[in-house]
C-alpha cells in the first residue's frame, strides 16, 4: 500500500511521471497520486475522442466493455530475470509451475512468504530457457525487487526496466485493433507472449489484462510510448481510460487488488487463489509457506474471499464491517463500489468459513446502518478472454 506523506511533511516527495505524463494532460486527464506516480484517474475527452466517449469513470468503463480502452500502466514494475536455471530459481519463491512454462507463454503467480502470506501478485513470461520477464505491482516494486535480489541465487541477474512504458489495450474490439496494426500479435492465445513490431516500434505483447475482457498488454520503450499511444487512439475503437474505470472493471471481473484484497497476512488459500499452485508443486510444496497452505487445504481456513452483492443500491466500500444475522462479526469488505456494467453495488470481501458459500446472507455496516447482502459467485461480469 502506498504510504501517504503527512500533510505537514516539509519535504513532500515529488510524484514520479510515466512516459505518458504530458500526453495524459493533453488528453484532458485528471491526474491523481497513485503508488508514488501522477496517474490519470479519468479523462474529460474532447474532439474525435470525445465523440467516441465523453470520458468519466462510468462512460470509460462502459466503453471498455463495448469497444476498446487504452490504459497507461507504466507505473508497474517490469524486469528481466536472466541466468542459467532461472525458472527453477524463481520456483523457490512462488507456488506456480515456472519450470513448466513454455517459451512465449505467460503465467499469473504470487510471491509468498514463509508464513504463507502474499508478498505480491505478478505476471511471469518465459522468453528463453535462461530469461524470464516479470511485471509487478507499482506499490510493491521496491519490496519485490529487494526480495528477489535477496533470495535468487548469485547467477541470476535482475534487470529492472526503469522508464519503460506499459500500455494495456482491453475490450471486445482490442483484437481487431491489434490485427490491423500487428497481425502477429492478434494470433496470440490467452496468456501468450510475443516480441512484435507495432507501427515500427519493437514491443513485447502479452494477451492478458485486468478487466475480464480480451486484450493485450504492451511493453514498449519509454521513448516510443507516446507514439504507440497516439497510434492506438488513432484507431476508431479506442479511447484512453483512467484508473477509476480500471478499478471498477477489475472489481466486476472479481480480480484481486494487492493492498486491498491481498497482503502479507493473507494466504492464497484464503484468497481463493489455490489454482495458482502448480500441480507439480503440490507434490513437494517446496515454496515459501507451502506446507502451511497444504495444511489449510486439508483442514480449512477460518476465512475465505468471496463476492458480495448488497441488496439495495448503497455501495459498501473497502473496510466495511460484515456481521452475520445473529449479530456476530463475520468479516470485512476489502474492495467495494459500484459496478457500471452490473448497474449496482458490488464488493469483494473476506468472510468466516461458515458464511463463505453462495447464497449466504450477510449484513454490511455502512455509516451506522445495517444493509443486507448476499454471497455470490465471482466474477460479477463473465470473463471474455480469448481461449
Amino acid at each position: 500500500m502506498a504510504q501517504n506523506a503527512l500533510p505537514d511533511d516539509p519535504t513532500p516527495v515529488p510524484l514520479l511521471k510515466t512516459p505518458l505524463d504530458s500526453w495524459h494532460r493533453r488528453h484532458g486527464a485528471r491526474m491523481v497520486p497513485f503508488a508514488g506516480y501522477a496517474m490519470p484517474v479519468l479523462y474529460d475527452l474532447t474532439g474525435a475522442l470525445g465523440a467516441r466517449c465523453r470520458g468519466g469513470v462510468m462512460a470509460e468503463h462502459l466503453h471498455t466493455r463495448k469497444a476498446a480502452g487504452l490504459f497507461d500502466v507504466s507505473h508497474m514494475g517490469q524486469a528481466f530475470l536472466t541466468g542459467t536455471g532461472v525458472a527453477d530459481a524463481l520456483e523457490r519463491l512462488v507456488p506456480g509451475d515456472i519450470a513448466g512454462l513454455k517459451p512465449w507463454r505467460q503465467r499469473y503467480t504470487l510471491l509468498t512468504n514463509e508464513a504463507g502470506g502474499i508478498i505480491d501478485d505478478l505476471m511471469v513470461a518465459r522468453l528463453a530457457d535462461d530469461r524470464l520477464f516479470v511485471v509487478v505491482n507499482a506499490s510493491r516494486k521496491e519490496v519485490d525487487f529487494t526480495h528477489l535480489a535477496a533470495n535468487l541465487p548469485d547467477g541470476i541477474a535482475i534487470g529492472v526496466l526503469e522508464g519503460r512504458g506499459l500500455l494495456a489495450l482491453q475490450g471486445p474490439q482490442a483484437a481487431s485493433v491489434i490485427a490491423r496494426l500487428a497481425p502477429a500479435a492478434a494470433k496470440l492465445p490467452f496468456m501468450g507472449f510475443g516480441a512484435v513490431d507495432i507501427g515500427g516500434i519493437g514491443c513485447f505483447v502479452s494477451r492478458s489484462g485486468y478487466t475480464g475482457e480480451d486484450g493485450f498488454e504492451i511493453s514498449v520503450p519509454g521513448s516510443s510510448t507516446e507514439a504507440l499511444a497516439d497510434l492506438l487512439v488513432a484507431q476508431p475503437e479506442v479511447v484512453p481510460i483512467g484508473l477509476g474505470a480500471r478499478d471498477s472493471l477489475r472489481l466486476e471481473a472479481g480480480l484481486c487488488l494487492y493492498g486491498n484484497d491481498l497482503d502479507e497476512l493473507t494466504s492464497p488459500v484464503e484468497a481463493a487463489l489455490t489454482w495458482v499452485i502448480g500441480k507439480r508443486r503440490k507434490l513437494s510444496w517446496d515454496f515459501p509457506g507451502g506446507l502451511l497452505m497444504r495444511d489449510q487445504l486439508d483442514n480449512g481456513t477460518t476465512r475465505h474471499r468471496v463476492g458480495i452483492q448488497p441488496d439495495g443500491r448503497t455501495p459498501a466500500r473497502a473496510q466495511t464491517t460484515i456481521v452475520a444475522d445473529d449479530g456476530t462479526e463475520a468479516g470485512i469488505v476489502t474492495s467495494g463500489g459500484f459496478g457500471p456494467s452490473v448497474n449496482g453495488p458490488i464488493a469483494i470481501g473476506y468472510v468466516r468459513k461458515d458464511l463463505a458459500h453462495d447464497g449466504a446472507r450477510l449484513n454490511l455496516i455502512v455509516r451506522g446502518k445495517t444493509l443486507p447482502a448476499t454471497v455470490v459467485p465471482l466474477p460479477f461480469v463473465p470473463h471474455r478472454y480469448h481461449r
Binding site: V41, L42, G56, V57, M58, A59, H61, G244, A245, D247, S248, R313, T314, P315, R317, G337, F338, P340, P345, R367
Partner: protein
C-alpha cells in the same frame, strides 16, 4: 435578476443555498458535481430531522467514493428530493436546479447572510 442571484449563497464545502422566506433549498454546486464525477447513489436525511450548521446529513456517491453533504445552516429538514435518489445523474446534469438535495426550515433566517455570496464563492474556486 440582481435581487434573484443575491438570494443564492454558497459554503466552502461546495453546497449552494437558495432562500425563500425562512426555507432554504440546498444542493451541491456544479463544481462539486464535476469533481465527484458520475453519481450512482444519493442518501438524503429523514424528514423532520434537526441539523446543525456543518453537520453531515446527506451522501453523494460516485463510482469511486462516497462524499458527505453538509447542512449549510442550522434548521429542520422539511422536504427532500426523492427524484435524485431514483436518478442520481440529475445531480450531474443540473446540480444547481433540478438536482437540489433538501429543504431546510432555518432556525435563524439571518444566519443565511453569513454564507459566501457568488463573488466570494468564485474567489474560493480560483484558489483551488
Amino acid at each position: 435578476m440582481a435581487s434573484k442571484s443575491a438570494d443564492k449563497r454558497f459554503t466552502k464545502d461546495h453546497e449552494w443555498v437558495l432562500l425563500d422566506g425562512d426555507i432554504a433549498t440546498v444542493g451541491i454546486t456544479d463544481y462539486a458535481q464535476e469533481q465527484l464525477g458520475d453519481l450512482v447513489h444519493i442518501e438524503l436525511p429523514e424528514l423532520e430531522r434537526a441539523v446543525t450548521e456543518g453537520e453531515a446529513c446527506a451522501v453523494a456517491e460516485s463510482v469511486k467514493a462516497a462524499s458527505d453533504v453538509y447542512s449549510p445552516l442550522a434548521g429542520k429538514i422539511v422536504e427532500i428530493n426523492e427524484t435524485i435518489v431514483e436518478d442520481p445523474s440529475i445531480v450531474n446534469s443540473d446540480a444547481e436546479g433540478e438536482g437540489w438535495f433538501f429543504r431546510l426550515e432555518l432556525d435563524d433566517p439571518e444566519s443565511f447572510e453569513a454564507l459566501l455570496d457568488q463573488d466570494g464563492y468564485d474567489e474560493l474556486l480560483e484558489t483551488l
